[in-house]
């Protein structure tokens, strides 16, 4: 059984390592500030005992006030998992750091989020629409679309 790590404990560990980078944490997930996302993610990927070498899935949700990005991290070595989240409050200019440099599996998934929710990823090598054509207006999975 993949062990879902207690997010509060991991968050406490991260808080000592990266002070002020955690926005909030509960039993299920950690919400990190978007400017610290890349540093935290690379720590989670390599830190002994954590080693989240497998990014199972990324998705994003539009909550009107903010977009929430959800990262399902898994460690194939230790068979444990963690849900990492970050939020993006600016609807007009939604930007978060790209994680493609850490996990190549993020490539198409970030492009999908960019296409359907209009969130940009800084540092993505090829950020363009993936399913819709380049002249398409709007981002269908936003709640204010139609």
């Amino acid at each position: 059984m993949t062990l879902a790590l207690a997010a509060k404990e991991v968050a406490a560990k991260l808080e000592t390592k990266f002070p002020g980078s955690i926005a909030e944490s509960n039993n299920n997930d950690i919400v990190v500030k978007s400017q610290s996302l890349f540093g935290l993610a690379s720590f989670l990927k390599t830190a002994p005992g954590l080693e989240f070498n497998y990014l199972a899935a990324i998705t994003a949700v539009d909550y009107y006030n903010y977009f929430e990005l959800v990262y399902q991290l898994t460690s194939l070595k230790h068979n444990h998992s963690l849900v990492l989240k970050t939020r993006c409050y600016d609807r007009e200019n939604a930007v978060v750091p790209s994680l493609v440099k850490l996990w190549r599996g993020a490539d198409y998934q970030e492009r999908e989020i960019y296409d359907l929710l209009g969130i940009s990823f800084t540092g993505h090598p090829n950020l363009k629409r993936i399913f819709l054509w380049s002249g398409f207006e709007g981002h269908p999975l936003r709640k204010d679309y139609l």
Partner: protein, 367 residues
């Protein structure tokens, strides 16, 4: 005098027999060798995630059929498991066993098409494909008995199954389980040492283990690269922890190993089905679930080992009758991340084989 040459761009697809649907590979060629490749998606994008936001939780099940339409039962299972996790619904034991039997039959059917289409891409034009379809037909007949459908089954329900199996199902399944190992032996006899398959697939399209993990590959593509990772063992759902089975893995990480892993997985699926048939209890196949389900505010992520890999659903509920957000973690799309790396440096005819060895369905890639 040196010849002045320049790269040549070739579009393979979107409508081409080897692209397994409407998919385009924009290949840059130097002579016959591919030096760059860009997959182009979206020709089958129907906005299923958006459509799901306007349907009741039960109403989304037929939409999931249309993701990986060659493995509708697996899609149904992944979705209903997520809703059950979100709403905290228990499933009767008989339904759990039947789900396992059906999901494993679906895996065999999916792998039969994967292997058949792969051999087709290798140049064995439709002869092996029809051998595979001969056996898939029996599975489709079994699914028709339980659901009345032959492609998009819409059989699973939140809290169980839409109906119990008819009495002719178990005898027919028993006959299938007895016959199938002989057919798999037959495939092995025809193909495993086939000179053409060996020459064209061995050592072709290598995906190193480190990279397979880094690009989030899953399913037979990941296991052929030597990673022992199967959701059924690593994160058991339904009743998979009650069955005894092995996880076949490859060593060479090439197209041939992907073929071997799929063949070996079919044998393991039969093992699971046999055990599930022996243990199958009687009882109800569906728990009481309100017709208009309103899960409490929250979110859930659940995943299964579908024929193509790690199929996950992420659902967010706002306590209304429709999901607030429904995201599909599609193994077909994510496995394609590896395509460019695997193809660069090979020739066009190898690219067709490498692409075929990943096994994708465009319905799931584009959604």
């Amino acid at each position: 005098m040196a010849l002045k040459t320049e790269p040549f761009v070739l579009n393979i697809g979107p409508v081409h027999p080897s692209t397994h649907g409407v998919f385009r590979m924009r290949a840059t060629l130097d002579g016959e060798v591919i030096v760059d490749l860009e997959p182009v998606f979206g020709y089958l994008h129907r906005g299923i995630e958006k459509l799901a936001e306007e349907r009741t939780y039960t109403g989304v099940i037929p939409l999931t059929d249309r993701l990986d339409y060659l493995a509708s039962m697996s899609n149904n299972l992944a979705y209903v498991l997520t809703v059950e996790k979100l709403a905290g619904i228990a499933v009767p034991e008989r339904a759990q066993y039947l789900r396992v039997i059906i999901a494993e039959l679906q895996r065999i059917a999916g792998h039969l098409i994967a292997v058949g289409a792969f051999l087709n891409d290798c140049g064995a034009f439709f002869t092996p494909f029809l051998y595979m379809f001969r056996e898939r037909e029996k599975i489709v007949d079994l699914f028709e008995m339980v659901s009345g459908q032959r492609l998009l089954y819409n059989y699973m329900r939140i809290g169980g199954l839409s109906q119990d199996i008819p009495e002719e199902f178990l005898p027919a399944l028993d006959k299938f389980v007895q016959q199938m190992p002989g057919f798999i032996d037959e495939y092995d006899r025809f193909f495993a040492q086939n000179e053409i398959l060996l020459a064209r697939a061995k050592g072709v399209g290598i995906l190193p283990q480190e990279m397979a993990i880094n690009i989030s590959a899953s399913g037979p593509v990941l296991r052929a690269s030597g990673v022992n990772w199967d959701i059924r063992k690593a994160d058991p759902y339904s009743l998979y922890d009650r069955f005894d089975f092995d996880i076949p893995t490859g060593t060479a990480s090439d197209c041939y190993d992907r073929y071997r892993v799929r063949i070996a997985e079919m044998r393991q699926s039969l093992r699971i089905i046999r055990q599930a048939m022996e243990q199958l209890p009687s009882g109800p196949v569906k728990s009481d679930v309100p017709r208009l389900l309103r899960p409490q505010v929250g979110e859930a992520y659940a995943h299964i080992e579908a024929p193509k890999g790690d199929l996950g659903f992420y659902l967010v509920s706002d306590n209304s009758i429709a999901p607030y957000r429904c995201h599909v973690r599609a193994p077909s799309l994510i496995n394609l991340t590896a395509l460019r790396e695997m193809i660069i440096g090979w020739k066009i005819q190898d690219a067709i084989i490498i692409f075929g060895s990943i096994d994708i369905t465009m319905g799931e890639v584009d959604r």
